[in-house]
Symmetry: C2
């Protein structure tokens, strides 16, 4: 464990700098909160105040200077003063500082980075941290606020212990996640708002909580990082011990590198982010409400171990919505009729109940019928999780149901999400009762199924990321390389180079086997086909001479070569560089059309053989490789092996800017690099 | 207007049959509700009770029999008795009946249809109707329910007048939509639960509210209908006068017709439903929470007229989520910096505010800064709608903000959705205040943008559906037809037939122009290519003879023909029949690969030229037709004209079971029906 971050989250001494007699002053509010926490025993650290302008603040003596070696200095003053205080902290040998102050690089100002030496800094532009174990809490937002009618209403909840560590870049999202979870009765292990990350970044905080025995789940909200591979390494380490979920937002293609490759036009920056998160073993979530519901549900339920979902409802329509969604999300809805029909026959369920899946006890069903079906479902091995939709409207449903269901679930530990519809007082009451009894409640049948599918995906997420740094990398000359020469180079990775020969005069066309492609050799033609510099599938010498003469006319002195025609499935393999994550691999199948259809799969490089096989499986056109419509199946394993080897080389060879094989023609005899373009930095 | 439904929704006399002294009896509950409504003047109809077993119920005299010509008879008794009462109602000349009772076809019992004559029946298996104009309300669910601590809590809200008419098949969904809207302070025009639709169906009810002057929006929840074209006709008529939104659920492919065509394997039953809804001018919504939020937002805001969205926030992270979602949903987020920078320069906004779009006033911003930006946004012509995210956490945000924003909006009528995050007391208070002031509030930045995008789509939705029934339809013989003969038939629609001739002996191969395709003529080979019965791109006589001999060996006595090779973009056009909607058209581009990638567009037939052009535009591979990568652009208009003509023929020709042209090769000179298969019923 990084001891410098221990001084941040679990300090023995805390200095708050800049508090004043003004109660609205941020530093004063933070000091006030910390003093109260120290007084009630929840904060163990010793807290003191520093302000050379005042003798006293909140009854505490204000010191002129910082003690030597303070663990944590909290700086919540205007940006110019913040710099002075940070210097003072550094000079006094303080361990860590939280710079709450905004007005730095986030709003066109300066980064603190150049001035940070020795001390470790969280921020600037952060609301700081909450650590429910050490008791530190720097949230300076009002806990209560007065409404215009004079009533005091809760604005943010108080901390409570739990097992999720939230790490978020945005202050607003940090505090709203905190509010959502704590106000629902959940606890958290810690909350960290990263702010501008001028020193301590997401990766370091993730590493810290990866080693934290009180954390089970790490929830990340990221809007971009500087060092993508550092992030991947830390998330990989964390996800081998804990569960990690991540929400990624605001990743635009605005700053994307210009490239002439097809790969570059297909892959979005966010594709690379999502690939990185997945490779590092975290589960990516796209929707803010799903993100919150997933954190809450994981804390209450843990993971879902299999795809089988039973839907138990007293509203047929709501059951249909849940079942549709479960199937859309890749879950299965096993038949239940034969196992539940006895409940209907023996009168436990109303005669108008349906015992398919969804099981619909109907509006005539009551607590007892719902509980009896639920109890049966707990015993079925093919039912891995349950959606229970017990709308409160029918007279027979009471507020005793949530605790009855919850206590059965606790015995059997079968993950269950409860759906209660509506906005009436009963709707809120029933949802609150489910939550309070440890069953997550939602207000949409579709969300319930989606959450269970996410909890199932979580159980399957695992890190597959292994960075490599080969020391003996095969190099090629700077500049642009095209086939046929570069194809020969690629044979070391297992690709095949189609047979070829230079055609310098027409008589050379007598010496070859047909069919062939005839191509102009020129690295200035980026899109050879569109430029008319390629003529494929030439069946005989006559056609070849015709094409050769055309080339001579149009492309003058450029050399021309003939290439063996290879038949098979067209694959595109591109390796490019992303500003955040460095080299990434992208694979597509089928040439022009899949490019239009954006059927592709992305990963940060390097990738191992299994990862390539998984990538191929993600392509909707993957069936083409498996011998679609009676064609011969391709040698997928050897294809994967070659792409993996290429990716290891490309990832290790920094001067390689990009390489694209398009098409790579794949058949049962191998993978032929028919068209290649590689660029190496000068 | 259908006067028989007027007697249902606006009756002068209502009879409730089967009430008893038992207060839990459904008929008694309904009678009780109606009497109270009549007493307080909200219900104008005269209400009476019928039960031969009792003299009195709820202080009302029970009659033995029904009066002659009662407008509406409400039947809420066990199913066997329901049949008796329905017969009695019919015999007494009653106008309409609502059969609340379940236990009919929905749970394996009988349909009421065969016994309904003269009388019009809603149900069975329905919770009935609420009409806030006539005051009728048959909801028999408890308005209040006692919790286990003895407190009485609201279970469903009371009716309130509004402009949305809800029509739903499911009782549970009906009541939860009712609860969601009414408990949020919204009103409704009417609620209709269709139940089993043994007589009155969705189409009829839609027609009724299409003509209703108090209805602005019709919201449909459907799980399937019997007569798809009747539904389309009624929705088309409704959507030419009102807005219609529809949520479709539970449409599985279980009962789908078997077909050997590619089209049949690509198109799902739900695709045809969604196409039908769109052609009829309604907006389809997939998510239950979005459906509710959209109803609420449309009532408060009306439509959104353009794509430009401004996002005004005091939380940068939440602003990013809203902006991401707006762009994902096809909206635009115009730059605002130059127009708002003065607000920062003159000190209205904090120095750390950002005046891009999102505009982030930061946590230092207060009511005043938010209101001043909002006021500016109202004047910008390229801003068609606004997301306002005013999280309550910062000290400067008060509960006066919602009404300040709402009154500005009312002056300028610019659609605005308010986002308030969290679950603390302030979160609920602020959301309630926005709702109460006429600005829809949501608890997710993403949902706000999505709702605005849906309101924009609503403004673009319009009916394009025109059923045809040609009287003089060109017919073909029963059985299966394949090219080349059927291709000649298709020329009447504007398709071209590739040149061809029979090859009955090898010498016939001397008489043709190369390149050609050589094909075996056999309607028993459904997938000719896979069977090896097609050889394309034969360049000369030698290759042709080789292929011809192979065919002779493998396919014995079948005739063989040569077909001109046509170059161009491969298109697939299929017209098949769906059990609910009848003939539908499906178009794809690119052969095998788009089939794997499911890049296709579906419509109920017939389609006019503009509809075909829209269908082509929906294909991700559409660029291929427009001359992708330097190829010549196809004659899209003539293609669309031919497909439209084909669809009119197919839709009018009942005996045609299916026709598929695959490929239809399209180039600048026309659309060539290279491979065709049509089946006509015997």
């Amino acid at each position: 464990m990084d001891s410098s971050l221990k001084r941040l989250y679990d300090p023995s001494t805390i200095a708050v700098v800049g508090p004043s007699p003004n109660r609205q002053n941020l530093a004063t509010i933070i000091l006030d909160n910390l003093i109260r926490a120290a007084d009630d025993g929840s904060l163990k650290a010793k807290v003191y105040a520093v302000n050379p302008l005042y003798d006293e603040c909140l009854g505490l003596k204000c010191r002129r200077v910082l003690d030597s070696g303070t663990d944590l200095v909290i700086i919540a003053v205007p940006s110019r003063l913040a710099v002075d205080y940070l210097t003072m902290a550094q000079d006094s040998g303080a361990g860590t500082a939280i710079v709450i102050s905004g007005g730095f690089s986030e709003s066109g100002g300066k980064s603190l980075r150049p001035m940070i030496h020795g001390i470790r800094v969280l921020g600037p532009n952060t609301i700081g941290i909450v650590d429910t174990s050490s008791g530190i809490n720097t949230l300076f937002l009002p806990r209560f606020k007065k409404a215009s009618d004079g009533t005091e209403l809760r604005s943010i909840p108080d901390p409570k212990k739990g097992n999720v560590s939230i790490i978020a870049q945005s202050g607003g999202i940090s505090v709203s996640l905190y509010d959502e979870l704590l106000s629902s009765g959940m606890g958290i292990r810690a909350l960290t708002c990263l702010g501008n990350s001028d020193d301590i970044d997401a990766a370091e905080v993730i590493e810290y909580f990866a080693d934290d025995s009180l954390t089970d789940l790490i929830a990340l909200y990221l809007e971009g990082v500087n060092d993508g591979r550092k992030l991947m390494n830390s998330v990989s380490r964390a996800s081998s011990k804990k569960r990690v979920i991540a929400m990624i937002a605001g990743i635009s293609d605005a700053g994307k590198r210009a490239t002439s490759s097809h790969t570059g036009s297909i892959v979005k920056n966010s594709d690379v982010y999502f690939a990185a998160i997945k490779q590092a073993g975290a589960l990516a979530v796209n929707d803010y409400r799903d993100f919150i519901a997933l954190i809450k549900s994981y804390q209450m339920l843990g993971e879902v171990k299999g795809r089988g979902v039973a839907i138990l409802t007293n509203s047929g329509g709501a059951g249909v919505l849940a079942a549709d969604e479960a199937m859309t999300r890749g879950m299965s809805v096993p038949p239940l009729h034969d196992r539940l029909i006895s409940l209907k026959e023996n009168g436990t369920l109303p005669s108008i109940a349906s015992v398919e899946n969804p099981v619909d006890v109907s509006a005539s069903g009551d607590d007892k019928s719902i509980v009896s079906v639920y109890r049966s479902l707990l015993d079925f091995d093919d039912i891995d999780s349950i959606v229970i939709i017990s709308t409160h409207y029918p007279p027979g449903v009471t507020d005793s149901l949530p605790s009855a269901i919850a206590s059965l679930r606790k015995e059997h530990m079968k993950p269950t999400v409860a759906v209660e519809l509506g906005k009436s007082q009963w709707s809120y009451k029933i949802r609150d009762l489910y939550d309070a009894n440890g069953l997550p409640s939602v207000d949409s049948p579709q969300q319930a199924s989606h959450i269970l599918a996410l909890l199932y995906s979580m159980s399957k997420a695992k890190p597959t990321w292994h960075p490599v740094s080969e020391t003996n990398v095969a190099t090629i000359y700077p500049g642009t390389h095209i086939e046929p020469e570069i194809s020969e180079f690629l044979t070391q990775f297992g690709f095949k180079s189609p047979k070829w020969r230079w055609i310098d005069e027409e008589s050379d066309l007598d010496k070859i086997e047909y069919p062939i492609s005839l191509k102009v050799f020129s690295d200035r033609l980026v899109h050879k086909t569109e430029a008319g510099a390629v003529k494929v599938d030439i069946k005989d010498r006559n056609d070849a001479i015709f094409a050769y003469r055309q080339f001579r006319e149009r492309f003058g002195g450029e050399r021309v070569y003939a290439q063996e025609m290879v038949r098979g499935v067209e694959v595109r393999v591109g390796i490019l560089s992303d500003d955040t994550f460095g080299k990434y691999v992208d694979i597509g199948i089928g040439g022009t059309l899949t490019e239009l259809l954006k059927d592709h799969s992305t990963r940060v490089a390097p990738v191992d053989i299994n990862e390539v096989i998984e990538m191929l499986g993600e392509l909707r056109a993957a069936q083409l490789l498996m011998g679609y419509r009676g064609r011969e199946s391709a040698d997928v394993r050897s294809l994967a092996k070659s792409i993996s080897a290429l990716s290891i080389w490309a990832a290790s060879y920094n001067k390689l800017m990009e390489i694209e094989i398009n098409p790579l023609i794949v058949n049962a005899t191998g993978s032929y690099a028919v068209d290649v373009r590689a660029t190496v930095e000068f």
